[in-house]
Symmetry: C3
Subunit: 363 residues, 3 copies
């Protein structure tokens, strides 16, 4: 229940922030238990190769950039950006099997997306819209956390915001009233949509540092979590009445949040996130305070999730009892379960990347 | 041989010292691989709940006391002292299955005893008599060690005092003469009784710091180790002749030791102990010296037991060769093996605690 | 592919350097997952006993030397140098099974060799010739590294020197030209023979610190790796022409290297090595510089091998693609595979050592 041993492969995962891959660096990052080498060629395009030489499994990330090629610095095999071996010391013949997998990559709005499955199915139009991440109408700071926990424990957390009242009582959340509200949950094509309104209440603790109103506010969290674990959220607060679902959001503090949970292994995860604000754009203090509040809140999440993981480790088969608040969570896990079953049934979750598999020009 | 993978459930385990559970604290402690939350209600009674919320397995020990109730601070479920869920945010209906196990608890003579199996079988009269722990006629200091080893390696140690001559040569033991003595071993209802006399010998090293005699002494160790791993020992030394089995123990240094070994997991254990003295009651220096000697000695035990565990880890199935000195140890392991087999055969080793399962008023 | 779960038993393993076993010490060292106690008796002979008491598996290395006997300091059993138990506290009768395995040991040229299999097959003539280690015509310093990696990843490394151009580009290796040369590989009785010549090239970086020549040199590496993992290598450089295969090695820098890889467990290894030089014998600076260069180079090996092990841990069954440069490596692995299969078929890989099994007088 708490963990899954297989990973969805035919899907886009966020593997890195754009700024993590400088022109001359090589980033090693494991995604779905596959070691990846992420690097930027001379055109600036990011490539993802399996970070395991086809010869003796040495990681290419310990190797050397030679222009747009990567040399394994164990025995000297040289690979081009498509993963094809182009040079083998002491032999002329290069067998066709001498290649490492190349994974389709799309760099879009500061995130590096990789496709871990069948490259022919890698359709960039499936990438969720995160344009907020570099929209001039929004401000925010990028952040990252590494988790020693299964990634589904993190998506569980994102799918049930009733935890705001308890885990984040003095930070992102507020009173128990928030947990008492039933969100509207619906299923989308590849995700779950959640909408939650808190009407006529004091602004949340973190918000009180950002903006002052004379009276109470209406607060909304409207978001989708799409497979494999990407949260896109419109949230905010506005004076009571103007904020309400049918309101015009006058004098609002409006936010957008992009978050991505990526499995590293069965027992560890990457967590990329950025909370953006659409008000006080000229006040870097607001941007900094928001980022600080979000990080503080996400450390609260991490503490309870790691504790949960340790409890599950004692008895991985311990039953969990579904509550009404789990509607979104259960819906997402069911969606994922079906996607995994479909993928297993189709039996086409990978294989050696075809030449040029990495070829999405977009950035 | 060296370890057992199943734990006896229908038995009382020592889970904590009374002083570890203050009025306003929550103690997390794992017993037989089950995470427990130990806490004291407003009447002072200690309760033990499974430290895993029935909802998403978050530990309740990360939660909040609300009077005599515990709120899970992940999603806000509230539990009463019997483990029954009494509040679920955003829903009125509380399903009967919404509960965490409550374990029978008895607080007696400074030890917190928990019953990990069928609560209906939890008979407090089965708890060994450790009244010495707070008898005004005795003095001693409570102590605890955590072990990264299977608990049976510790009970093995307690059941064969021939190790005193080697592990504790300069502390609790003394010459090899001690190891040369054959103890009298007999089986009791739920344990093994051991009696050992060393006649006309110099006082043990630790004892020389506590009391002076003109000549040699007779030394006795008379103890029982009862399931699952509780040692109760009458020991001491008195001038030769007065100490001997039939002696009157005149001018004796008399001790009583209460020790409890509790499995945390297959590979880790809790060890609670207190050595008490019945002489020099008004001399806190004697109490301190005794506690210090015992701890120093038990660290010697720990060093050899951890080394033994590491050797066993290399080959868990390595044979062990029984010696005559293993009579008590073998008897105890046989007793435990039979109790485990009986429990497996009966198939009634737990299940959700019935309401009020924790209800032993005694303290 | 990357690791093997069984170890060759009927073979000599290097377990220690002679200087690690002082007259009054006991060295604990695990070889092929068997804990060993190595110690030197009053005649100076080294003995190897299983470092696990036959009674309760306590390590004898935590015990006490009593002349040429070892007392287990858990419960006092006393063992002679053949592993026979000669004293059991509190009992007269010593059962024949009361013994720990003794392993054949040969101390030769500063290395302690142990035979982990059937003692009757332990033929000292099978020990490779490492007389260079204390030949007055050679100078070098002994060294050791512990590896958290399977031992075959280290022997792989030794069997393919094409890595010199990449792993050791600025230390032991040099230009990519070295990797481009095809070595001559042939199989010997219990090993693989490799010969490699680099003609008319600048001296290797480490060599430039040791000796100066007016022009280029010819460089040779002629070595054998014998089961289970012992490298014996004639290497060196001499002015171009005089160095070449048919040359007379005039004004040469000539080296001999003895290296032994010994499995500790499936996932950890011992690595013993000494590089010796036959020129500048009176210059301790050359000896020190050589030892320093070798250690620096071997740390480069360790870095890539540990990285390789971590990649393999993510997917132990990941395929490896054999290259021409793997001829020696593949040959060695095939030889080992056959030896392991033979051993399994014969089913005679150990058992309790016969009395006197340790009896090789040679030192």
């Amino acid at each position: 229940m708490g963990t899954e041993s297989a990973f969805l492969k035919n899907t886009w995962y966020v593997a890195a922030w754009s700024h993590e891959i400088a022109a001359d660096t090589m980033l090693a990052r494991t995604v779905t238990r596959v070691p990846l080498l992420l690097w930027r060629d001379h055109t600036g395009r990011v490539n993802a190769l399996e970070d395991r030489c086809c010869h003796r499994a040495a990681p290419l990330s310990k190797g050397r950039r030679e222009g747009d090629r990567i040399r394994c610095m164990y025995h000297g095999l040289l690979f081009d950006a498509t993963g094809r071996c182009v040079e083998i010391p002491s032999q002329e013949f290069i067998p066709p099997a001498a290649r490492v997998r190349a994974f389709p990559v799309v760099e879009r709005f500061k995130w590096i997306w990789v496709w871990m499955g069948d490259p022919h199915k890698a359709d960039p139009s499936l990438i969720p819209d995160t344009h907020y991440l570099n929209d001039p109408g929004w401000r925010g700071l990028p952040d990252y956390m590494h988790y020693d926990a299964n990634y589904l424990l993190i998506t569980d957390n994102l799918l049930d915001f009733s935890h705001l009242s308890y885990v984040h009582e003095t930070t992102l959340g507020g009173s128990a009233k928030y947990a008492g509200i039933r969100p509207t949950v619906s299923r989308s094509a590849r995700g779950v949509h959640v909408e939650r309104w808190l009407i006529d209440e004091k602004p949340a603790p973190f918000l009180q540092k950002l903006k002052t109103w004379a009276g109470n506010v209406d607060r909304w969290n409207i978001y989708e979590v799409v497979l494999p674990g990407v949260l896109l959220m419109d949230s905010g607060s506005a004076p009571t009445g103007t904020g309400a679902p049918e309101g015009r959001r006058v004098d609002a503090a409006q936010f957008f949040s992009c978050q991505a949970v990526t499995p590293e292994t069965e027992r560890s995860s990457h967590y990329f996130f950025q909370q953006l604000h659409a008000f006080a754009l000229d006040d870097p203090g607001v941007t900094a305070s928001l980022a600080e509040s979000v990080r503080a809140g996400f450390l609260e999440d991490q503490e309870i999730i790691l504790a949960q993981q340790r409890v599950l480790d004692l008895d991985p088969d311990a039953p969990m009892l579904a509550m009404r608040m789990d509607t979104a969570l259960a819906s997402f896990r069911a969606l994922l379960g079906k996607a995994l079953a479909d993928e297993r049934a189709a039996g086409t979750t990978g294989g050696a990347g075809a030449p040029g598999a990495a070829g999405f020009a977009e950035r």
